[in-house]
Symmetry: C2
Subunit: 308 residues, 2 copies
Amino acid sequence: VTAGATALVALDWGTSSARAYRLGHGGQILGRREAPLGIRNLSGSYPAALGALLGDWIDAKAPRLACGMIGSRQGWVEAPYVDCPAPLSALAGALARADGGALSIVPGVACRDADGVPDVMRGEETQVAGALATDAERTLAILPGTHSKWVVAERGTIRAFATFMTGEAYQVLREHSILGRMAEAESGAFDAGAFGRGVRRGAADGASGALLHRLFGARTLALTGDLAPKQVADYLSGLLLGAEIAAGREWAARQGGVPERALVVGEPALCDRYTAALAEAGFDAERGPNDAAAAGLWRIARAAGIVR
Amino acid sequence: VTAGATALVALDWGTSSARAYRLGHGGQILGRREAPLGIRNLSGSYPAALGALLGDWIDAKAPRLACGMIGSRQGWVEAPYVDCPAPLSALAGALARADGGALSIVPGVACRDADGVPDVMRGEETQVAGALATDAERTLAILPGTHSKWVVAERGTIRAFATFMTGEAYQVLREHSILGRMAEAESGAFDAGAFGRGVRRGAADGASGALLHRLFGARTLALTGDLAPKQVADYLSGLLLGAEIAAGREWAARQGGVPERALVVGEPALCDRYTAALAEAGFDAERGPNDAAAAGLWRIARAAGIVR
């Protein structure tokens, strides 16, 4: 075993993009590759996409383990959901095999909320496995995104989780509603004041439909000049994040109490935005590690006996 | 004065469409015309659009009174908002004049909610004036639509109101989000079971961001087969209406108590849907009169001394 030898090719393969990591014998990252080859973007076959993503890594004499939408019904091979509570061993024990066994795929996780409505995740379970040590006390992991996940985990076991359609709601309102028409094109300059104002309003007490009223406020505040056109997008983003945080905290409280430790895990710029919103809403949260998916794939591969 | 003589040409002129009524000397409707000449659809001038809408009514020797977005900043002439509490006399006293005085326009109404965030309506104030007698006790009027309005009125005076972006949220989620992609094309057959299930879930207790979680449930219920693809759209509609109703009732309670009488006013098919949702949520509401805008324009014209 040489220092630069590949022990595992780890793949985080989602809806829009795919990322590959070459991991060494301690699980350390030796290389990273990324391509817009998410399962919704594929024109050719999965083996062809794998080849294009891996390049010369395709020849590495190492096992391959993937997580994410590649294991969904629309993916390469379906890896059926594992139910909560889901320990690392349950994920490792339910890998699906694609490409004649040349690629293993981590299953997603499912649960039902208090009303019996199902919830699902794919990929986030692996990020949680990477972000939290198996001996970590009860922790709340928040994974922002198109469909944000709030996850309560305890000693490596996913106890429960809830999805919030925050990112997608922002996107469709921004691109297709009257709120988007009032907003100036995003300049790239983040307006912390407008964002914070949105967070406070979004997180304020109110029934679930209060969000439908508060969204209209983004329009009227712009109409009366209380918000400048260039502030509307960040105000809207704040409103939605504030609403998610208020409901997420309420959800976590129902899971046997809000854990003392909260970790935000995911894409750095989005995590910054969430950390700011959480602070504005009076909720202390730390930033989780980067490349959590790679670390999670390593831990699951070890639990499955694929690597040592 | 002959029985069929025109006393007032009344116009309900909105964003997407325009409707004209020929009213007799008792305010009765003698004729109706409609065209897709809303202010967002106009290619030519306002006088040309008025001519196209009215046809041979253009020669009627009668005053003309309009309500709706035609009086907005993007309309023909701006009729600035009147603040709440807004009695009929305040609306009648603040008409704007267009076309050299040949057309009068009813102002919109503005208020601020408990957090100081402004809210506005244009057109709905006139429907409320038409639906409620000036001697009506404290009443809650619910006007469903792209931007639904909940209005508390008392003896012809609009005391307070709140807007919910329910219709627009439904539309953008249905057309542009993953929920729309899971839903079969609307067949026209209303699924009361899926709708009611959505209403109960939408109206259930929860913080404002609970809606963002419940929306995702429309996807997972479809994924697990708990909802058929053709049920997703009505379930989604129910979720949003239920959320609006829970928040609207909470809002009304803060306006000095929920009025004993609740009236649903607007487009008949949409009012049916709201009445069903209100009943599902345990909220008794009656259907208001049709052509409420025409009746309101008549009352405002009388209060302004334009007609007798």
